[in-house]
Amino acid sequence: MGFEGILNQIFQPYFYYSVIFLVVSFACVKILTQSCGFIGQRTKSLLYLIPLVFPIAVMLAVFPSTGIQTTYQQIKAVTVASTAGVMSSFPFGPFLPLPPHTVYTLTTTTNTVVSVTGIMCYIGLIAGGLFALSMVLADDRIARKVLHVILLSPKEHQWLQTKVVESSRKLTIAAPKIGVVEDLRPNAFTIGYGRKATIVFSIGLLNILNKDEIAAVASHELAHVKNHDFFFKVISNALTTVSFFNPLAYISCSTAQREREMLADERAVELLEKPSALADALAKICKAIQNLPKESVLVNFSSNLLVTSSVLHRVGILSTHPRLDTRLRNISTPKARSIRWSRRNTHIALLLSLLLILSAIAVSLAMVDLQLNFTADFKATQHLNPFTGKIKGMDYQMASGNATFFPGVFTVPFNGTQPVHVLVYNPDLTASIGISHEMGYNVAFNTQGIPFGEFIVVPQQDSSWVQMREPASLPAPAWIG
């Protein structure tokens, strides 16, 4: 696959649009969220889903194809003895056979190549759909089994179970089950949703935190249940899977999930009698995990898919959790929380989002237009140069050997001495081109016979006929090219 082939793969609309829309809309959302400090975590997390929705919308509108058709046209010069055999097809007489002459033949070859980008889009769509479906349908028992979660019996950690029930009542949610995992690293996470939710603590976490701090971590996890973060995570991960070939999708997804963490922190603090306990717990956990070996990326990724929120997290741009200092600042700054959404702020944010998204679409369309122009020039040069060397806003297509001429001026080598008057049939009706000498006789060609001379192609409006004349005898209408 040469450079042209790669370009051809990239510029398939389903791939090209899905990538460009995601990139531009991500940039817009980033600018919006950075510049508008009043936007809350919930809105931010939803805004970061917008770039992930674009590719799926594009793929549904322009369905991906597994094959790309490429057309190659070649001009061959063949010397023929006579055109007597085709003369009778021309309706005007009298006819004279042409002397031996060169016939230029346009041959069109259509090749179908595998669309790598199309297949990638299909894989993304199928994998994303299957992932979402399996996560929603999967039984919570499967997730517990995979992650080796042991449910606590009613007699174990009774104070914690009571605390969770109390907090759940405050949040008006069904009290989730509580489980433990043997992991010695401090960690807590939630699996399942609604009544199937299970909050899981690692033995490491239960060992290093005091009761208040464990209750704070439990509140954080309960906030995730209340915020329906299971579904948020499933949707964001499924949408990311659709655009798995775009690195920015992962960044957008993890940014959205970080905002949900901050939201859960805020909600947890509201529940706690000692709000500082959450900050203490987070600080202790971060300190403890610094000294422990990290899990491999694959293990981390696979287990991360099953859990709604894990205290352990990846570091850096793909992290699903904010940095500790950001979280601590978030939960310890009452000002940040005191800014409540007003109707006006909501309208401003929505308007800004709309403007940014529209500008993103405009930029994308402008880029597509540039790309189309590029393609048109490319085609015209390929097809017409051998005949004319001169193009003026015209294009034509070859289909089954018939030529369709659009308005324009073109020049071809003329080897005759007599002025010519040419009539071109509408190729929808016939495959013939007529050439009429002023001397009073007609010569018929089929489409293989290219007329020689400099002509003006004049479409006859309200008629299926097109006239071609010498420039001298008929000036080109002003509206032509």
Partner: protein
């Protein structure tokens, strides 16, 4: 229930038998009922080393034990040097894996020796006489054996 306190083993990493329970059956004579269950389960396990979860799941079928109970029992057995443990890194993160520091036979031998040694230290010839009385020898053979044993025990002292 009569519980006899035995000398705690001070030597590092040597199994520690802190008690002898006269009413206890088999291992429960030396260990608490839970500890005995856990040790039996670990010895019976085909896979070594084992995690707390594996033993918990094995015991859950026969006894309704809680995970944290099994965990604290295994932790106690480690403290007594009856179990060894190390941190292992696996799919579930970092976790302890345990294995017995002695095979079952060696453990029993070691425990019985500890108890006997304690009895002999405290009661000497009475222990020898009692042991001989438990045998199926005739009177003459018993007298000879008692004399021999008492002599040897006195020498040891």
């Amino acid at each position: 229930m009569i519980v006899m306190r035995l000398h705690a083993m001070t030597e590092d990493k040597k199994p520690e038998f802190s008690q002898y329970n006269i009413d206890g059956k088999a291992l429960e004579a030396f260990l608490g009922p839970l500890e005995a269950n856990v040790m039996e389960s670990i010895w019976a396990s085909r896979k070594t080393p084992v995690t707390v979860r594996e033993i918990f799941e094995a015991l859950k079928k026969t006894r309704g034990l809680a995970y944290t109970t099994v965990m604290s029992t295994m932790d106690r057995l480690f403290e007594k040097h009856l179990l060894d443990r190390k941190i292992e890194k696996g799919r579930g993160g970092l976790y302890y894996v345990y294995w017995p520091s002695l095979e079952k036979q060696s453990f029993q031998k070691s425990a019985v020796r500890e108890v006997l040694s304690s009895l002999i230290d405290n009661f000497g010839d009475v222990v020898a006489n009692c042991l001989v009385d438990e045998t199926s020898l005739n009177e003459e053979e018993r007298s000879a054996l008692k004399e021999q044993l008492n002599k040897n025990i006195s020498k040891k002292k």
